[in-house]
């Protein structure tokens, strides 16, 4: 019998919206919300619409149509958001007897730039060509008559800018469209068969880069050598994206009064329609063969992400044992495969190689593909017991084994220096890939004691071991000791504090080709103190306060160089006060900071008999902060009028403080530590909404949305399509580069909306 249940007549509990609350709307019942909006963007619309589209004109924001019978054995629920836009989402849930299913189609844009200036055209997928006149013009600007790349020619920068300014503005974006579905069938009581499928297509272009190496020594060789200069090191391109990722899976689960088990198989395939990127070098129309310089290329080649796939089989289960004991586990086996055909070493025929060896012919590769294989085994077991009310004990074991079984290949050499020369070794080591494996084993014990009904005290120990091959540290052991307490006074107050001490040891360090005193932070010995606290307090039913803070201090005591220490702080406060069903206010504040201290030493290239002079040492302190806060208020004026105001601000900044601890280097000018400008990014958002309930079903409203984003980042602000610069630090070092100018910038946006919602 079909249900004709009346909609609830009682109001839903008051939900105080937070200032940062996601401003998407979902109908609790059948309905439609749409309207018209006017959008004014001043500045970089690419950042504003990074993951969304906000066009002027008519829109349908939300749509829902659903129905069900009395016991839910027949139901459907169709929903849509952002209908007809490139950031739309559509879902359909349905159930018919023992079969339930869901289907979805989701569109997510990723907009990188609306003002990129590519010099390239793309006559075929994966092929980027620069018109010959442009290449010729840029090449002509490369005046090497005095060995300094035209540094003394005042015409070169303006000419370069002029050429670059003729490239048309282009949008760089990748659209991710995913469709899929899942179904579950109750084939027998307590037996369920499930399956899912999804197909994600990503299409568009994003920014990639490539070096076009060109380097000369300054001052000659030996002790006269004081540095190098580079002429054309950088090149940006629009990389084609044409990816397809498909996921398939089947599962079967069986449960009883005290257990549940599940077996599943998952398959994931990734296909890239464009295996290689072949591109013209804007700075060269011909390959340049030279003994004095690197052999610069006119046409480069760079492989794009290779096709690959994984299969995974998982068996999981949990069983309830006597004495309120639970045993759960999960075991999985997966295989990864990748066997994309290799590209040739290079297309640069000017590279000097042994006679008769054609580096541009892929037939001269030792093998045609990697035959890449990885097998992963994962085992996880947890035993948790609460034999008496005041004690819980938990034991955990976990092992994750990543085994790379890919083929090891010895290459006779490679096109080094961004396809500018042939190199047969790297610092004496052969050109051979070395598949790397690692195994991580973790076990731990935890006890929770409840001496009082309102108090929990917990203590735990965990052991973490890494066993790797071909890393600078192959074995790590880590001990983690944690103590904590939780206080809970009914539902009005909850507070939690904890402290963890972590000590990680490292086996013998083998830096390989790196400086012997350098330690990689992810494998180096470290000591870590972690403090956590959290509380929620509701002194009144209408008032809730919440907050948490986490502070982590990490030191790397065995690292003479590299990352020395970092301090991480993350905290937040949230207050909501809703004294009436028709009125509420709220506020929040949150902050994250990461301070990192590192040491390095500028390499002196064996000048004077040593590479590593204390006078060339430098340190860096980076302070990185994100600070966010906001307030909101909502309520009713009465007579059907409702208002909702939200303001939030997010302010980020990064400060860099580099210094020479042993004084200003006098011999190696590249060792001088200079201050870097601060990076700042601030986002201010104001949303005001006023609505009027014309009838119980019909609501009309207006909305104003203001957003201001301010970005100052020296890493991107200095970039223009054609860059030609004498670097003050070097005086003789002259560089030029070609960029897409596809960086994000500041913007101010005003959006006015008139909308109507109708519940049917």
């Amino acid at each position: 019998q079909e249900a004709t249940e009346p909609e609830p007549t009682t109001p839903e509990p008051v939900q105080t919206p937070s200032p940062w609350q996601v401003d998407t709307f979902t109908f609790d019942n059948n309905g439609i919300l749409g309207g018209f909006q006017f959008v004014d963007v001043d500045g970089d619309s690419a950042k504003f619409e990074e993951y969304r589209t906000v066009p002027s004109g008519g829109f349908v924001d939300s749509l829902r149509f659903a129905d069900t019978n009395a016991d839910g054995s027949r139901m459907f629920d169709a929903r849509a958001w952002n209908v007809g836009r490139i950031d739309a989402r559509y879902t359909l849930k349905a159930r018919l007897g023992p079969v339930s299913a869901i289907g979805f189609y989701d569109q997510t844009p990723h907009l990188y730039s609306v003002h990129a200036r590519p010099a390239f055209s793309s006559p075929a997928p994966g092929e980027l060509r620069v018109p010959d006149p442009v290449q010729a013009a840029f090449e002509a600007l490369d005046d090497t008559s005095n060995g300094q790349a035209g540094a003394d020619n005042p015409l070169i920068p303006p000419l370069g800018f002029l050429y670059a300014s003729t490239f048309p503005e282009t949008v760089l974006d990748v659209q991710r469209n995913t469709g899929g579905g899942a179904a579950n069938i109750a084939i027998l009581p307590n037996w369920n068969l499930g399956g899912y499928f999804s197909d994600e297509q990503r299409d568009g272009t994003k920014v990639t880069s490539a070096g076009s190496y060109d380097r000369q020594a300054i001052g000659g060789s030996g002790t006269a050598h004081t540095g190098d200069y580079f002429r054309t090191p950088d090149l940006e391109m629009p990389e084609p994206v044409s990816y397809s990722t498909k996921l398939y899976g089947v599962s079967m689960d069986f449960s009883g009064p005290s257990f549940v088990v599940e077996g599943r198989a998952d398959l994931s395939t990734f296909d890239n329609d464009v295996p290689y990127l072949v591109f013209d070098n804007p700075f060269r129309i011909t390959n340049l063969a030279s003994t004095a310089f690197r052999q610069r290329f006119a046409e480069g080649i760079s492989p794009l992400p290779p096709d690959n796939q994984t299969e995974e089989f998982t068996f999981s289960g949990a069983v309830r044992l006597p004495l309120r004991t639970s045993l759960s586990g999960s075991f999985s086996w997966s295989n990864w495969e990748q066997n994309e055909a290799f590209a040739p070493y290079t297309l640069n025929s000017a590279i000097s190689v042994p006679a008769g060896f054609d580096v541009t012919n892929p037939a001269n590769l030792p093998v045609s593909s990697l035959d890449g294989k990885v097998s992963i085994n994962s085992q996880n077991v947890v035993l948790s017991s609460r034999p008496v009310d005041f004690v819980t004990a938990t034991a955990r074991f976990r092992r994750y084994d990543y085994d790379d079984e890919s083929r090891e290949i010895l290459f006779p050499g490679y096109a080094a220096g961004s396809e500018s020369s042939w190199r047969t070794n790297i610092e004496g080591e052969p050109i051979e890939n070395v598949p790397k494996d690692y195994t991580r084993t973790r076990w731990g014990l935890e006890a929770i004691v409840r001496p009082l009904p309102i108090l929990d005290i917990d203590a735990s120990y965990a052991s973490n071991d890494w066993d790797r091959t071909h890393r600078t540290v192959n074995e790590n052991h880590e001990d983690i000791w944690t103590i904590g307490a939780r206080l809970r006074m009914a539902r009005s107050l909850f507070a939690r504090v904890s402290y963890a001490y972590t000590s990680r040891d490292a086996s013998i360090y083998d830096p390989g080709l790196e400086f012997a005193l350098l330690r990689d932070f992810d494998v180096a010995a470290r000591v870590q103190d972690t403090y956590d606290a959290q509380f929620t307090w509701s002194p009144l039913p209408s008032l809730t306060l919440g907050g948490n803070v986490s502070y982590v201090q990490t030191d790397f005591p065995e690292s003479p160089y590299g990352l020395q220490s970092n301090e991480y702080l993350s905290g937040g406060l949230d207050v909501t006060f809703a004294p009436l069903p028709v009125f509420g206010i709220g506020a929040f504040w949150a902050r994250e900071s990461l301070d990192e201290f590192m040491k390095s030493i500028a390499k002196d290239d064996n000048i004077g008999g040593t590479n590593w002079l204390p006078s060339n040492a430098w340190n860096d302190n980076t302070a990185n902060v994100i600070n966010a806060y906001g307030v909101n208020m909502f309520g009713d004026f009465g007579n059907g009028f409702h208002y909702d105001l939200r303001y939030s601000a997010t302010q980020g900044h990064a400060n860099f403080d580099a210094s020479n601890p042993n004084g200003l280097p006098t011999k190696l000018f590249t060792a001088i530590a200079y201050p870097w400008p601060e990076i700042t990014d601030n986002l201010y958002t104001l949303r005001v909404k006023l609505s009027y309930a014309v009838t119980k079903a019909l609501t009309v409203g207006v909305r104003y949305w203001y957003e201001n984003f301010q970005l100052s980042d020296f890493m991107t602000d200095v970039m223009v399509p054609y860059m030609f610069d004498r670097v003050p630090q070097d005086l003789v070092d002259v560089r030029r580069a070609y960029y897409l100018d596809a960086t994000y910038g500041s913007y101010t946006v005003n959006v006015g909306t008139v909308y109507l919602s109708y519940v049917f």
Partner: protein, 273 residues
């Protein structure tokens, strides 16, 4: 209080006599719309399935005479829910997990009566991200950061990456490892590649902060400083540099080493191609 009271059951009709609002809302509750399943002792969802026999409460309607979830501690409330949901495969890894054992409880996140009908899984807040941030308030900074995932747009939520009911991995990550999770959406970085960058292959979080960053691509630090923390082999890797140098601005080290996630080029041993 919190313990089931001995005595007779009275049936829904009696409860609704006083709790009319709750009764009406409950008609569309998933506990009622079970699709024909009969997981309850009484064959249908009765108030007393969760609140225990109500005869004493009907006679003397105090909180002490009924199982009131508002009065239960999370551990006790969760036990009530798990008496049925323990058989659910989504709860396989609940025991011993980060939210279990009273750290949080089912009713900390799910509202049996108060959830909006449209909310997924009877969440106490309309959206999962909002709910998580009620305790993890520090993460509110992430939603509007310069570099972030598309949570504000509703394309992801916290549960896209974390399973609040427990997982086999730290931080309740949904997959067997952080990298396997990231590859779900970023399969192009999965490989295996001919030339692998070890820290990348072992843990994406060595370089990326998935929640928020002041730097592009969710990097934990400025690109060249991040690379310099582990690289001192060549001269150019070791210079502190001025801000206007090509190994500092734009993509910094990746201006020339763009294949930092792994290269499949025979000429890519140092990730230039």
């Amino acid at each position: 209080q919190g313990q089931e009271k001995a005595g007779d059951t009275v049936g829904n009709e009696t409860c609704i006599t006083c709790h009319e609002d709750v009764g009406k809302r409950f008609a569309k509750n998933p506990h009622v719309l079970t699709g024909g399943k009969k997981p309850y002792k009484q064959n249908s969802a009765e108030c007393e399935s969760c609140h225990g026999p109500g005869a004493q409460h009907a006679e003397n309607p105090t909180k002490e005479n009924i199982v009131s979830f508002k009065s239960l501690k999370p551990l006790e409330a969760s036990e009530k829910c798990l008496s049925c949901h323990r058989q659910d495969k989504t709860q396989i890894h609940w025991a011993g997990s980060a939210h279990a054992e009273g750290r949080a409880g089912c009713t900390s996140c799910h509202s049996m009566h108060g959830a909006a009908p449209s909310s997924k899984a009877l969440l106490a807040r309309p959206k999962a991200t909002e709910l998580c941030l009620t305790c993890h308030t520090n993460l509110a900074r992430a939603l509007n950061a310069r570099s972030r995932h598309p949570l504000l747009e509703g394309k992801m939520d916290c549960a896209s990456c974390h399973n609040p009911h427990g997982s086999v991995t730290e931080s309740l990550v949904r997959r067997n490892s952080v990298n396997e999770l990231c590859y779900t959406c970023h399969a192009e970085k999965r490989g295996p590649h001919l030339w692998e960058h070890s820290p990348v292959k072992e843990n994406c979080l060595n370089c990326h902060n998935p929640h928020s960053s002041n730097f592009e691509s969710l990097l934990v630090a400025q690109t060249s400083r991040l690379c310099q923390q582990c690289h001192m082999q060549g001269r150019h890797q070791t210079i502190p540099s001025k801000a206007n140098e090509p190994w500092v601005f734009s993509r910094a080290c990746m201006n020339c080493h763009p294949k930092i996630h792994g290269s499949n080029s025979p000429s890519g041993p140092i990730f230039q191609r």
